[in-house]
């Protein structure tokens, strides 16, 4: 058991990468939920996107998906770039309107 676990540790496979991706995802989620600053939230979103990408590429390496996984990862990067540009433009607009970028202070839709 002991040696099996060490051997498992010594041979990084699909599961290892998936676990890294899971930890990255959780950290990104934490950032998105708990940080006040919009830009921090955006950075958390980037982290989540990267964890997803890591999953894709890991699957493309270790399963029959082959290069399709990488291709999807490429498109995710493209979309992330577009998202970042638009999101930052929105942030600038929010800043112009509310003179703050703290999400807890922006609650016009309070019921």
């Amino acid at each position: 058991m002991e040696s099996t676990f060490l051997q498992w540790l010594a041979e990084p496979g699909l599961t290892h990468y998936l676990m890294v991706s899971a930890i990255l995802f959780s950290l990104g989620l934490l950032a998105v939920i708990s940080r006040k600053n919009v830009i921090m939230v955006l950075m958390g979103v980037e982290l989540i996107l990267n964890s997803a990408n890591l999953n894709f590429i890991a699957f493309s390496r270790f399963t029959e998906l082959a290069l399709d996984g990488q291709m999807i990862a490429l498109f995710v990067i493209i979309i992330a770039a577009a998202e970042a540009a638009v999101a930052l433009a929105i942030v600038l607009n929010i800043y112009n309107r509310f003179k703050t970028i703290n999400l807890n202070e922006i609650s016009l839709m309070k019921g």
């Binding site: 990488q70 291709m71 490429l74 638009v86 930052l88 600038l92």
Partner: protein, 185 residues
């Protein structure tokens, strides 16, 4: 289990050593990635957080290399480190320049946030660990650039074009939104 092509089959030691090297690299980059990400999340200083994100993303790129995805890794560094993070830094500077005393961000909902994140982490780790993945023995390969290029121009042509249009729209939209305040009274 990573291995070598059949024509020059390595000896067990050779293979073992290579494996150990890749394992060491994997763990090193994993620590870099996860550590930087954690620093980013828990950092009080947003500029520090941004730089931590750079390191984290670079670590992810290194992991891509370990997964034989050289083109994606290059793209990751180009787009994220060269593009998106610069954009984020600009955003930080444009929005918080006047309020240097507010540079330290404060968190909200810390208790539900950590509980939920922990739950999600446990859940994902459990699922990934417990699932029986039908894996194959990964083959060593040289470069992916040629094959990716062929795919991009064949079966992925339409998504490729749409992605181009999407980027164009995003650029125009971002320009429009960030310049509109000039027209406001």
């Amino acid at each position: 289990m990573p291995g070598k092509p059949a024509n020059d089959k390595p000896t067990y030691d050779e293979a073992n050593r290579l494996m150990e090297l890749s394992a060491i690299l994997f763990y090193a980059f994993t620590v870099l990635t996860v550590g930087s990400a954690a620093y980013m999340v828990f950092s009080k200083n947003i500029v520090h957080a941004a730089f931590a994100l750079i390191f984290s993303l670079s670590g992810v790129a290194a992991l891509y290399v370990l997964l034989y995805a050289d083109f994606v890794a290059a793209t990751q560094i180009l787009v994220y480190v060269g593009g998106i993070l610069i954009l984020i830094l600009f955003g930080i500077m444009l929005t918080t320049l006047d309020f240097t005393e507010n540079l330290k961000t404060v968190t909200v909902n810390m208790l539900p946030a950590s509980l939920l994140s922990g739950a999600v982490a446990v859940l994902l780790l459990y699922v990934f660990f417990a699932a029986e993945w039908t894996t194959i023995v990964p083959a060593d390969r040289d470069g992916t650039m040629y094959d990716l290029g062929m795919m991009l121009m064949n079966e992925y042509l339409l998504p490729f074009q749409i992605a181009g249009v999407l980027l164009l729209v995003a650029i125009i939209g971002a320009l429009l939104m960030s310049t509109r305040h000039k027209n406001e009274p």
